[in-house]
Symmetry: none
Subunit: 417 residues, 2 copies
Amino acid sequence: MTTIKSVKVEIITIGDEILIGQIVDTNSAWMATELNTAGFELAQITSVHDDANHIIEALEMALKRADVVLFTGGIGPTNDDITKQTLCSYFDTKLVFNDAVYQNIERLFANRPNYKMNELTKAQAMVPEKCTVIQNEVGTAPVTWFDKAGKVVVSMPGVPYEMKRAMSVEIIPRLQKQFETPVIIHKTVQVYGYTESALALKIAEWESNLPEYTHLAYLPNSGVVKLRLSGFLENVLALEFVMNQQMDLLSQLLGNAIVAAEDIPIEQLLGNLLMVGGKTVSTAESCTGGNIAHVFTSLPGSSAFFKGSVVAYANEVKENVLQVNSADIEIFGAVSQQVVEQMAVGVRKLLKTDVAIATSGIAGPTGGSDEKPIGTTWIAVCSDEQVLSREFRFGKLREQNILRATQAALLLLKEIV
Amino acid sequence: MTTIKSVKVEIITIGDEILIGQIVDTNSAWMATELNTAGFELAQITSVHDDANHIIEALEMALKRADVVLFTGGIGPTNDDITKQTLCSYFDTKLVFNDAVYQNIERLFANRPNYKMNELTKAQAMVPEKCTVIQNEVGTAPVTWFDKAGKVVVSMPGVPYEMKRAMSVEIIPRLQKQFETPVIIHKTVQVYGYTESALALKIAEWESNLPEYTHLAYLPNSGVVKLRLSGFLENVLALEFVMNQQMDLLSQLLGNAIVAAEDIPIEQLLGNLLMVGGKTVSTAESCTGGNIAHVFTSLPGSSAFFKGSVVAYANEVKENVLQVNSADIEIFGAVSQQVVEQMAVGVRKLLKTDVAIATSGIAGPTGGSDEKPIGTTWIAVCSDEQVLSREFRFGKLREQNILRATQAALLLLKEIV
């Protein structure tokens, strides 16, 4: 089987916002996913300030490694944006007036009667002479496309929806015409109950026998490790066959430790299972403090299976609202099997759901003891038929304990739905 | 007044996750903010794959421009992680066994009886001979620190909480000892009720008169805009004086729109106010789905003021648990002043707290109407003396609506505590 040479792309983001921590660079993650799906390999992301020398240096380095360089940002109307001038000087050309761009700007302003075009906006219609100008229907700054010795340099806006439209509608289709890309297939499984290293040992032999046109990535997240196998080949059917074969072998190796055979959040997986079964869920949360409810309700359409929660942070809420026996809290403590099971049963009854989850643990940074150190967490799930509970020891960090307890609770619920 | 030369830092992130779009690089934004606050200038962020040649090239380029290079990621126990070996070869040294690292790993595993140490984990105790090893108390991979001709190269884990601890407790304090950074003073106010651009117009004249050794950043976050004024000067007293003067002028301009005169999360501000007043709070959440409870309980020590919540996603939970009148839900709808006020009063009574918050809104992506479009949200707060409620129109994006409603609810509560 033959592989074809991958087409390498680099992204250069321009502007202060990312470098002073003002914004998180979500553009690059989106672009990375799209490029990857379209069969391109993203080789580097570089973020630099609005500084001409630094921009040129980054571009020259990128062109040494990659076939395509995509600039985002730095092309707004204000003085600090210098990318257009910098590219003009790099490609030895000058700015000229472009009537189509000007008409696009006029059209955009006609739609927004509260805003007036000013001279800075008009200047957006000045574009490099030696480039392909691609209209930006949703913003004033056009996309500019430069060809140079078989390589491509594109400059596009940094505003997310302008960038996304330009990439989807114009840039990726044009790149796919110009370059021959291999087929890429990704297969993901999510594994629970192993540390990253224990998992690596468990599957070492399988991993070492993977074909050379595949790549395996370990992606740990709050107790769950995602294993993603990527394959690159010319023949899509052959690749699909080999990838499925490898994933079958992996499934045999890991068995029940595989909690999901696709790349979706665990809460979405649970939501799907509940909806398919026509079941509803409620939660009684102490240490997770509402986070399980929050991850469920972050899913669009979650009202189809999620009815509500009682966040029982104070013991009196556990007693008065969830009907936990106060003597049991006294004798066994709030972080105990007895209490967490009563919480689950109590909330299921109160909110009239098919199944319920309860958590009680010591999130930290204080409250631990020798017997129950910080991170000790009891989780229970119940249905009309059974109550299932388990003790966990997470770490010392509050934020991490909340996230891990949330994942563990969802996965425990999976055992009964 | 004289300024001193800035100390330049670059970040290099290593690993596939960012370059295939699997994760958004939130680490770099956090690091950028912290470095900036500590007086360093972040000159470039570079993301590369686990590829030795590419890593070395990125390092060499960064060392030409910057005084400090910070690597994150690529130091896990699995085969794809090669940063440690790559740095060994670059700094012409070899891996040696480090007993302190080994003991740290043993300690971490002793706390997690479900997991066993294996040979890959043990290999984490192999560290480059010519470097300063900094213990990582919360993970198995240590931080390694290399000095080279007055410049510094540090390699740290990419796991966010491990990275954050290493940066805050070890790396930034050590860098501040080693390099002379200018005095930087930051003053932050948090402003509510303005868009970023409306705020920019409101304070345009004040902003244009700021001294040239200051820099103003707009940091919008779910409806609140943080204005951070940074000043760089040799003389700390002079700087402090000028900064205070400017912030006084800003306060006069913005008045009550300033909801906090310091850079702390709004939930922490509320927690402090409640604790000072000896008051407790509960929440009844529909559209926010437990997120207000979650942000409160993410604060260490929140059990001192937060007793619990009822997440009332289904209407029957509003009726049965919070005693909302079912006729009112029928007549006015669940997203209405009548219902949200009853939810607040109901949860305050049920959980026996001094004050309470309630939310009910249409988070989207479905459920909107002409009269109540997606984003319509009612929020109520109450005490034993009063009930205060307000209607908001957020946007079309579910995630953003949940975050904005959370912020708005906290700020409404601030009006009565």
